[in-house]
Symmetry: none
Subunit: 181 residues, 2 copies
DNA sequence: ATGGTCTGTTCTTTATATCGAACATATGTT
DNA sequence: AACATATGTTCGATATAAAGAACAGACCAT
């Protein structure tokens, strides 16, 4: 896929998400609306300054416009997964996710009690969350496709859409790795 | 900081890292070396196709050229268990470790039974391991300074020396994040 | 309907990014 | 020394991205 096509799609998508017209966005970004119109049609070869202006006006990083959205949701149950290190039979290491190039991965611990579900608003485009349940039971994932998770389960999903975490048992604990490219 | 300056710095830095000359890189990327030369001087306003070609030739994503290097003093470390996300009282997120630049972080799940300690030989220099105990009890860390860990504990240590993981209780589970820079 | 304000498109003009060649300097070879 | 092959630079010609205006269509008001 050529860069211009990715950008064309991304700009259109983000602009619609923001409910902005071509004119409004071009004005906000201080570029000609003809430039923006052609860009969305996949015509030409925009300069970095143009992309920068558009991304700023949209309140997103430039990389959100040039990286193609990737990754599907993936669930690995407690007893599943590729075992990669097993020199000893009492020590099992399962690779859940290899880090893609140039990704940043921050590590969190979650302590959640039964109550209102935690609804997170979308993170920047391309953001992925990795969730591993340590204790308890949770309903988590994209808000339109959450999954029931038990201790040991590993679930990764796109976090650039609204997503949910709800404890279904008291004292539910989890590891959360937030990955942004 | 203007985008062209960020790009100029990034291209020069990555090119040197790859031990490529201006001529060599321009040839690899199929662009005029004058274009590359001026770009590295911070002159002009490169097009996305030019950046794309350069990034491809360097084997890095375009975003690596346009993302400004993260300031290293802006993040409060989580070593004291700083709570960073707490909009709801029943949901506590604790930042354990923010990802440094250019690090790769692979995610593993460990299932370990009581028995011989697992002794891992040194990983490449700079490798760091992050360990979070989900269940059971473990003795883990560098072989000369292991620590007793209980569920919920987070321990990070240099893995470029021999290190150990020993289950002290049956059915000990942990999350392991291996980070190499 | 008639004017007004939107929508996004297609023009022309101008500014400039890219190319390729010519240009210096430097390092090494015979 | 003279030559060869690197390095990165600057130059003029050309392609083209961007700006701005003109454009057609949709929608709402009076």
């Amino acid at each position: 896929m050529k860069p211009i096509e990715i950008i064309a799609d991304a700009v259109l998508r983000e602009r619609n998400k923001m409910n902005l017209s071509v004119s409004a966005l071009s004005k906000k970004a201080n570029i000609a609306k003809s430039t923006l119109s052609q860009l969305e049609q996949g015509i030409g070869n925009p300069s970095i300054e143009t992309l920068w202006a558009i991304a700023n006006a949209l309140g997103i990083p430039v990389s959100a416009l040039i990286e193609k959205p990737k990754s599907r949701n993936h669930l690995i149950r407690a007893n599943e997964g590729l075992i990669v290190l097993s020199e000893q039979k009492n020590y099992i290491a399962t690779l859940l996710s290899a880090c893609p190039q140039n990704a940043r991965r921050d590590i969190y611990r979650l302590n959640v009690e039964i109550g209102n579900p935690k609804i997170s608003s979308p993170h920047p485009i391309g953001t992925i969350e990795h969730l591993i349940i340590s204790n308890g039971k949770a309903l988590a994932g994209p808000i339109d496709a959450p999954v029931e998770l038990y201790p040991g389960d590993y679930f990764t999903y796109s976090a650039d859409v609204p997503h949910i975490f709800e404890a279904l048992e008291p004292d539910t604990n989890a590891m959360l790795v937030i990955e942004c490219t």
